[in-house]
Amino acid sequence: MSRAAAPLQWLTMGLLALGLLGLTPTLSLSLLAVGLVVLTALKLREARRIEERRTVALLQLVCAGLLAALQPELGPSLLQGLAILLALAGLLALELGAGPDWRVLLRRSLQVLLAALPIALVLFLLLPRMMPFTNLGWGQGMGAVTGLSDTMEPGAIARLGVSRDAAARVAFPGGGGPAPMDQRYWRVLVHERFDGQSWRSTTPRIGIPPAALPVEAPQPARPGEGIQLWLTEPSGLAAVPWSGRGRPLSPDLRLRRNGELLNQSPGSQRRVYALTDSATPDDWRSQPPRPINLALPRGENPRLEALADGWQRLGDDRERLRAAERWFRSQAFRYTLEPGPLPRQAPLDSFLFETRLGFCGHYASAFTTLMRAAGVPARVVSGYRGGQWIQPLGGTGYVDLRQADAHAWSEVWLQGEGWRRVDPTAWADGDPLASAAVAGVSRSSTGPWGWVQQQWWGLDVAWARWWLGYDRDRQEALISRLLGDRRQWLGLVVLLAVGLCLAASLGGLGWLGRRRRGDPLRLELERTLRILADQGVTPQAGETLPDFAERLAQLRPTLASPLGAFVALYQRQRFAPGPSRARSKETRRLGRALRRSLKNGESVREAVQRGRS
């Protein structure tokens, strides 16, 4: 057992423990992972015999696998890969005797891993995948972290914290880009129920078994059709952001009538999904309003209702909308993140006629209530607004959405037009989006750190696209592209590819093992000796080169002169002071000449023998 074994195994434990830090503690599977890591550490502490240490290495690999299931993102994956490399080096350290130090072990470990990778990739890419056996709901219980919630109660919030945490990224790998800044609204939740205080969404919580829904494979994107690739941080919501246009490309995505996009994929906390980026008939926009879109607890905000009653007399919904806009613009509303709490009694009256301070939630809430009171079907929508366009080095650009971009706006139903987005926040003084547009600069994270982060996220997008996005459908597509309709050959192809990879890996490892670093001259000599050995002449034990050459020259007088020249130069180069590069080259040339004459000599001898017989 190498002395490096224990440090390597403990280092692996450290990396795994580091990986545990990123887990969501409430998830049942992460508890399992924590338990397993702790168990492995205890086992490593107790382990004395080689067999126990081996088991520890295996447990470490399983831990790394579990972590990989729980945290498939780029950063943690790199960490897990490193842990796997170290665990394997620890295992090698147990077997290779006391000699090698950690550097040798790491190199060996890397070699073995690289040798095993081709076979693993063939199996991974081509071996047909199975569906999950049952849905155990392993993905349940994720903490809600975003600025979005399915209940919106602006009056109860005195101060809105602005979090710079990442919320989502959307890339456009097929080309294209996002809408202009003032039209960049990414919808998530639709809040239709209003009880006078808070707006509720009718979205189901995550974890509803998707089996109840008709699963039909969506049409793949047509060539030339743009794609939006989404990467969302864990949110605890089944609804995921989208631009409001496009067609879902994965079977896990379902579009609700009210324009919410639900993602029912289990397991992974972060979600990756794709939609087409083309204009499609927006079904949800033309879904007629339901009575709930006019429901309003009457008498809660008397002054608001009085104002709305005045607009109700106007003949047209569009007139009422315009009147509301005019009214908002004429009042001194100001956007602020610290509006202070509103009273429990008539909160919206207080906001509209007294404080006139608020953020998006206040405006959306008050405006929607006004519209409903005026008889216009309306609802509150929450999601993200804006987002920064980032073009990383050598990758597809993406829009970066932060939690601070969370936003709420309204939608009103206009006869003949369908649901129209109205953003009352834009009418207020100091709206951040408007001021940003006026200033001409979008907020950007400056400094080298910000730049590094942007590049990293660019990599992350690529990772999500190629690695996380590789699922059964992509596999199907790959197999179809490779084999066309000759699917029955798949088994044979996989076997053949595995066999080929195995042979190549073994050959590569053998080559690495044989390759001895050392004097090129010495290697030259060994090549010559190998040819001689093939011809049945080997040096005696302990014989020196001049002695051997002399003996050889007596055996084969024809060889004497090339051999003599080679040996003289070789000896000089190896042992004399100040060996020179030019002479080394010359020696190697002589060596080649010698080998040539050796081979020729052989063939001549064979010819002679043939002639005799």
């Binding site: 010495r522 040096p539 302990g542 020196t544 001049p546 190896r574 042992f575």
Partner: protein, 295 residues
């Protein structure tokens, strides 16, 4: 010069060469054989050919250490002691039949060989330069001898055994064609010897050669069943002797062949602990066969 000495010692070219290499490498030489094989003749011829100050001490059982080193003699005339140097204070000391002396005298000699100086009654006296001891030793099966201990054998750079001369050479010997050592013409002076010794130290040892020597040492240590393991001092001796040999071969660098040429003479007595017959260089041959000589 080799031919000059070779004229004295018929048919023993290789041994003469080894003895010369030993001198060049500043080593002490132990010549071991049965009586009458020409040991003393070789030693004498070596000393004479360099024109070195030469003293000869026949070791006997009653020889005392002070007989070698010299002693403080009381001069009744001046009523004081003055140091009277012994035969040790010569450039070449021929210690004949060293195994006949008592162990105490032997160790006194060997200490002087190792340290290059002698202390008598608390005063230290430096030995002359160059200082070479050529010791001859009878085969062990001769009666009335006490063999050198193993630790002291190590102080001799080489051990030679002459063996019987070839038939032709012996015929020439019987015909009286050999030369007497006192007839040797002095070819070099002591200064030349010092210069040659200096050149020996500058013979080039390439890394590949050192690897070869290290492999030899390592192999002798890994197989204790085959003789005593070689000490680091043995390694130094081997390199020094090989350097001298390569100089005699007219090269400016050492090759494995040089090492092999001196291997038996340098290592055999260190490996067999002075116990086996000197005409059996089996151990060093086995050692040589165990290490790849192609470098």
């Amino acid at each position: 010069m080799i031919s000059a000495i070779g004229g004295v010692l018929l048919g023993k070219e290789h041994e003469v060469r080894l003895a010369l290499a030993c001198l060049l490498a500043r080593g002490h030489l132990l010549i071991e054989d049965l009586p009458g094989m020409g040991k003393t003749t070789l030693a004498e011829a070596l000393a004479r050919s360099f024109g070195l100050g030469f003293k000869r001490v026949s070791f006997t059982s009653d020889l005392l250490p002070a007989d070698l080193t010299g002693l403080n003699v009381f001069d009744p005339g001046e009523a004081s002691f003055h140091f009277q140097p012994g035969p040790l204070f010569s450039q070449v000391l021929l210690a004949d039949e060293i195994n006949r002396a008592s162990p105490r005298t032997q160790s006194a000699l060997l200490e002087a060989m190792a340290a290059g100086r002698v202390s008598v009654d608390g005063t230290s006296h430096a030995l002359p330069e160059p200082f070479l001891v050529i010791a001859t030793q009878n085969g062990l099966d001769q009666g009335g001898t006490s063999a050198l201990p193993e630790s002291q054998l190590d102080r001799f750079l080489m051990r030679l055994s002459l063996g019987y001369p070839p038939r032709q050479a012996e015929r020439a010997l019987l015909l009286g064609e050999g030369q007497r050592p006192d007839g040797i013409v002095r070819a070099f002076g002591p200064a030349d010897l010092l210069e040659l010794q200096d050149r020996c130290d500058h013979q080039h040892c390439s890394p590949a050669l050192l690897d070869y020597v290290l492999d030899l040492l390592e192999r002798s240590r890994r197989q204790p069943a085959q003789g005593h393991p070689l000490s680091p001092r043995a390694g130094l001796a081997l390199v020094a002797a090989a350097r001298a040999w390569s100089l005699l071969e007219g090269r400016d660098h050492v090759i494995p062949d040089d090492v092999q040429a001196v291997l038996a003479a340098v290592c055999e007595h260190r490996m067999d602990g002075g116990q086996r017959g000197s005409s059996d260089p089996e151990l060093s041959q086995r050692l040589q066969a165990g290490v790849d000589g192609l470098r």
